[in-house]
Symmetry: C2
Subunit: 405 residues, 2 copies
């Protein structure tokens, strides 16, 4: 297949591009490289030393013999270039990772809120419009998030996308299938909730074939392909904005920094290893909806855990201390989360468990590159509201941490 990977330079996009290229697909990365610009803005860098996208593609060609093409296009700002590219290249599938993906980043300031909504909504909408306009019947696979459910997780197993509700009508009770109600907890998560409505509309109005993957929190760094050459390594974010919780714990452990748990750590989250992410994308590609079918929604996760349990697991494995800090997020202090992932299991996904992958990650990545950590970038200081901001101390390391173990 000819596949366009939008956002193919990012944390999920790059290993996906390699994985699909390795399977023999013709891969075209479309990216505006915004994630690299944000590194520059925040003054942070990937724990793993990361080459330019052009260099990555060159190394991949040398290593595998396969060509990955790179095109610098800004989906949100360059609609007409996107449309022309799709029209000329007519990919069979389009994988859409091209959104600002960090909840804390989306809450830093008014500028970051506005950027996240403007970028994410226009990127997704421009893509849908361009597909309709060019009459391109490609399968659109989008990376969404489990986080759209936020406050609407009431302890029931979250189904894959839809909920049957019953409505009282004058002629008796009538069933209606609706998108499972979302209740996002950050501006970033909100944009993925908006995306759902865009997909529903364009599937219904124009028959666009969409699969929306509600992904859990990704952990891990490398996949079979990124391991093939040091310069193919995936990025690893440990900072308070982009670092995902488990990867942050690993980096913290590696530099003898307390594991920072926000609030009680009673938040239950869904997780998936990056190797399973790329495998899920492959599986989703094979299971495209038919034209006119409703949006397919898969829960792309393999395990759920409470944050404090993860901290304890990493602490036990590495000897790290745990520090309980004020929570900068506005969220329920504790929540249950049960998630159905029958779709991917049915398609043959064989999950990597935390148990098998964690230790390798600590040794191969976190310890190996620990010297590249800037300790000042470790804390989460992006607060969800003004009130919360005043409670999160902004002092460096030692002073702002209330260590308990």
């Amino acid at each position: 297949m000819k596949i366009a990977v939008l956002g193919g330079d990012g944390f999920c996009g790059w290993p996906t591009s390699l994985h699909l290229s390795n399977l023999g697909h013709e891969i075209h990365i479309i990216d505006n490289l915004s994630r690299r610009w944000i590194d520059t803005e925040l003054g942070v860098q990937s724990l793993t030393p990361m080459d330019s996208i052009q260099e990555r593609c060159r190394i991949w060609k040398e290593t595998s013999g396969e060509q990955i093409h790179f095109h610098l296009i800004d989906l949100a700002k360059e609609y007409y270039r996107l449309r022309d590219w799709l029209s000329e290249n007519r990919p069979d599938a389009v994988i859409h990772f091209a959104e600002q993906r960090a909840a804390p980043y989306s809450m830093i300031s008014d500028r970051h809120k506005i950027y996240t909504v403007d970028n994410n909504i226009n990127a997704t909408h421009n893509l849908l419009v361009a597909m309709v306009e060019t009459g391109l019947d490609a399968h659109l696979v989008h990376l969404g998030t489990m986080g759209v459910y936020g406050y609407s997780t009431v302890g029931a197993p979250i189904p894959e996308g839809y909920l049957d509700v019953s409505i009282d009508t004058p002629g008796g009770s009538k069933g209606m299938e609706i998108l499972y109600p979302t209740r996002p907890g950050s501006v970033y998560h909100m944009t993925k909730s908006l995306d759902q409505i865009l997909f529903q509309f364009y599937a219904q109005n124009d028959g666009v074939r969409v699969t929306d993957l509600h992904q859990g929190i990704v952990w891990g760094t490398n996949t079979d392909q990124t391991k093939r050459h040091p310069q193919l390594v995936n990025r690893f974010d440990y900072d308070g904005d982009y670092g995902t919780v488990l990867n942050r714990f690993l980096a913290q452990a590696a530099i003898d920094y307390p594991l920072t748990v926000h609030g009680t750590g009673g938040q239950t989250r869904a997780f998936i290893h990056i190797q399973d992410t790329v495998r899920c994308i492959e599986l989703a590609l094979k299971d495209a909806p038919a034209k006119g079918e409703r949006v397919k929604i898969f829960n792309q996760m393999t395990e759920t855990h409470r944050v404090r349990d993860l901290a304890e697991l990493v602490a036990k494995m590495t000897g790290a201390r745990i520090a309980y800090l004020p929570n900068p997020r506005k969220e329920a202090p504790e929540n249950e989360l049960i998630v159905k992932n029958d779709n991917f299991l049915g398609l043959g996904l064989d999950p990597i468990t935390l148990q098998e992958g964690l230790l390798e990650e600590v040794v191969e990545i976190a310890k190996k590159f620990a010297h590249r950590v800037d300790r000042k970038r470790v804390p989460c200081v992006s607060a969800w509201t003004r009130d919360l901001a005043s409670r999160v101390e902004r002092d460096p390391e030692g002073k702002r941490l209330k260590s308990v173990s």
Copy 2:
């Protein structure tokens, strides 16, 4: 109260500004005048001769002694000017009409789809962010639309915003209150569906106090205040993009043009007179939610009718013919629509009925300004999909109409 009316130069915004100014409020219109630019783009004009906003404000001052202030700010593009304005002026209430409001316009082409989403979502989101950023605890009253429900009207009375659903959990059935599911039928309606999620998030995260008015189709032209001077007249759109169905029938009757019904005319729609619109805004302002309360949602409509029944009513009153044309919209050919509007009735709204208002409208507006109609602009030619576009004939008047009465 000091009130900012965003989009105060438009069809609903202008009479609302006058109505509230007349009640003694300090009115600040903020508008980018985009609706006037769209007139220019489409080569159409209001049936009623409409002065510049500056001239309208001058005439209002002469007529009433009251000052309405006008500020040229583009909400979607000039966030920082908006934020500074709110910070300096600190209005008690903000009424938000500032969105592209025509479904057919939103479907003309890729450019129009993109414009509608980019403009409407960024306008609403920028406003919310600016209110949070400036710590402005104003009551935000937003004009939404009944059209967000679209395909999710299953013949049950549509409640005012929320639906209780029951979810099966391991510990038994659990109730959850959700936003009534939307299923918008055009890009324009979709933006209002997205707005709902923005409001829900900012009410929950930051305590922004929001009232969202799900308005029906507005008919009529003048209100008590716009009648006070010929230069205060409200706009009246008769064209295929911006003309609302009933006003279009009136204009068609006045120029001896067949009343154009699309499809079977079995679509049931909700209606409200413009005089009731401005009264509803006044009532909504008095009933602000408390800080931390969920978004208040009112259905702002007074009657429901099938489109073909309206055509027959106008035909009987005026002797006009009815022409049944192919439907350029993708929608159910027939639908039931029952709408609850207990909130406004409870607050004292005494609706103007079609029966009382229609004839005056025909004589005072449609016949009086019939010489200003450009007959070429009457048909709806904006098709929802490529397939539908090929079925809607684009020949002028006589040839494209299949008259049946």
